[in-house]
Symmetry: C2
Subunit: 353 residues, 2 copies
DNA sequence: TCCGTGCATGATTGCGCTAACATCATGCCG
DNA sequence: CGGCATGATGTTAGCGCAATCATGCACGGA
């Protein structure tokens, strides 16, 4: 690895040396009109004659002027940012939610800004504080569980707040998501109906993944309806989810060889489990059934389709963004509650009921 | 301690009725000191007596005051944001780079802000313009290829710029990455040395994925050294990468059944190809060798380890962030060029040389 | 001819905060 | 006991822009 140095940071390909960054004044002097007119041209607001407009645009372009949104935002009391606070980017799920948000926001003039909490409530609080200090037009935040301080900040912010992913709980303002409790219960019923009886759960250990927790609770409740109790469980944290899925599956099957179904808290470890079972020649879904959660695209490429439930990730993003966009234009207030319905996709790893 | 009440616009400071958002003045009135002192306390700057500090903090907390960074940034001409511009979030690679950046920035007071271009140069230009208008302390941007306007903006911005991922080309300022050309060539040499001769390439169609393009160019150059020409190629775009890997592998093997090696432009499609080959009972690596690129964690869970090259993703993020952090504190200027060296991991899908 | 009308542009003010300097006690030294 | 660091606070002046209102000017109908 080599390191070389250049002499100057700015060798201008454009016009002059921008020692101090350019302001409206520079453009106004270059084009011979007032700052106000330049401002109007650059924002396409108010009446400006075509000739003036052209002259100003030419000058701005020639100088390489980039507006200062900080000053603009302060003066206009308007910021076109939407804070999006999510636990992780490596989860596949959240980039998809983000995709939905971006798409929906694309032609509203609003722009998402992402903050990541790593599933830590304290970090969430910090990130929220940081983002609110930029006075965004709205907040989209994953989950309904927040520290008291975070909750207070959300309530006091005076902007639209949309909590996403999860509807099982008390929302600050609007909420868009699915019921993870119900999702777990539905899967449990399906499994019970298919005749499986010795059922194991494999999932994340993280105490702050409330949605996984709720799925498990719903799952156990669903099993209970059929008089079934969870036979065994196995938890993990960190590492490659696919590999963990393999290892955990091996571990739980070694410990409880009589299990006839494994419910995974997400598709990634479920996929690992599926690969493990195929490796070992285990009869799936005859001898052993499998199911995950999320409906990730990755599953399409596996040798067999893992049973799962679509978490409506993209749509959640879109709906949440639409709420922010709608409210920030209409100025209307009031928290919608949108519960989406995930669909169980039985795939090839649950035997027919 | 007694609480003195004074005539204040905010009679009920609790988490209710945030009519007009709070300012330093509100805190200053509530705590009986000047705005300046409040500002000092909240920024931990300058000398403030312990008692005053406590009083101010109490007042700020009680009111639920959140500083306005817009005003602060305008006044101080300092913004603690670092713009990070990447092509995609669904690629796995970039979240990892982001992880490296966040980690490195974590205790510098700087904060990354992410913009996504979807591999579109025009979108990159737009995103860059938007981000620069917030006057960040630095820019980390993927790739060396930009529109002329984007390049000009970067050069004129007067802040540290770090181009990442790729070092094959002309940098604006600093650059941290690997040589994809070299990476492709190295893999080609290894494949040739192992005795493979009928070699196919499978990759993305996107014309703006310059790094994939450079890997292919390097790969062909490496093969040429051994007198080998690429026997066939197959391109894709969109969809589930794992599934695409399967489909493409089937397609290319149907068309050119005599191929004895497949080089994939990324691990995801490579993994799909591997699964396909295992399904079909193809002898890997005897009859057919396989290799991908990136060294993604996912590979650890596959039935067999795909040959790949680690792209140093996390380290790239860290080094880039360190450059920004270092320069923004020291004020030093000058573009470093850091070339990392990816390591070929032969896994189980190339036969020994 | 006049004044109104509408368009194009300019002047003023302040958004909320911080840099820089000013002020005013203390206390401690010789 | 004088003088001057030193600490603790307050005062002033913008940062770059946009809201708002003021101004100038051409045109057209009465």
């Amino acid at each position: 690895m080599e390191v070389t140095r250049r002499k100057s940071p700015v060798s201008t390909p454009g016009p002059q040396e921008p020692r101090r960054s350019l302001t409206l004044r520079d453009v106004s002097e270059a084009s011979g009109v007032s700052e106000m007119t330049v401002s109007r041209v650059l924002r396409n607001r108010g009446d400006v004659s075509a000739s003036t407009r052209a002259r100003v645009l030419e000058a701005a372009k020639h100088l390489g002027y980039v507006p200062n949104k900080i000053a603009g935002a302060l003066a206009s009391q308007r910021v076109n940012l939407v804070a999006v606070i999510i636990p992780s980017l490596s989860n596949l799920v959240f980039p998809e939610v983000l995709g939905g948000i971006s798409e929906e926001l694309d032609d509203t003039g609003l722009q998402p800004v992402v903050g990541v909490t790593n599933y830590s409530p304290e970090r969430e609080e910090t990130v929220l504080y940081e983002m609110l200090s930029w006075r965004p037009s709205g907040v989209i935040i994953a989950g309904l569980e927040h520290t008291p301080a975070a909750r207070a900040m959300l309530q006091n912010a005076g902007i639209p707040i949309v909590e996403i992913m999860d509807v099982d709980g008390e929302a600050v303002d609007a909420v868009v998501g699915i019921s993870h409790h119900r999702a777990g219960a539905e899967m449990a019923r399906r499994i019970a109906a298919a005749g499986y009886r010795r059922i194991g759960f494999l999932g994340t250990k993280m105490p702050d993944d409330h949605r996984a927790r709720k799925r498990l609770e719903g799952f156990e409740a669903g099993l209970a309806e059929a008089g079934i109790a969870l036979a065994d469980r196995e938890f993990y944290s960190g590492g490659s989810a696919l590999l963990k899925g393999r290892e955990m599956t091996q571990a739980i099957l070694t410990r409880s060889p009589d299990l006839d179904f494994l419910y995974y808290s997400n598709d990634m470890i479920g996929a690992g489990g599926l690969l493990y079972c195929l490796d070992k020649g285990i009869d799936v879904p005859g001898r052993l059934g499998l199911a995950g959660f999320n409906g990730v695209e990755l599953l399409d490429g596996l040798p067999r389709r893992l049973a799962t439930m679509d978490a409506c990730r993209r749509e959640i993003g879109q709906r949440a963004a639409a709420i922010i966009a709608g409210r920030s234009t209409t100025g209307l207030v009031g928290g919608a509650r949108i519960e989406l319905t995930p669909v169980l996709q039985p795939g090839d790893t649950i035997r027919p009921a």
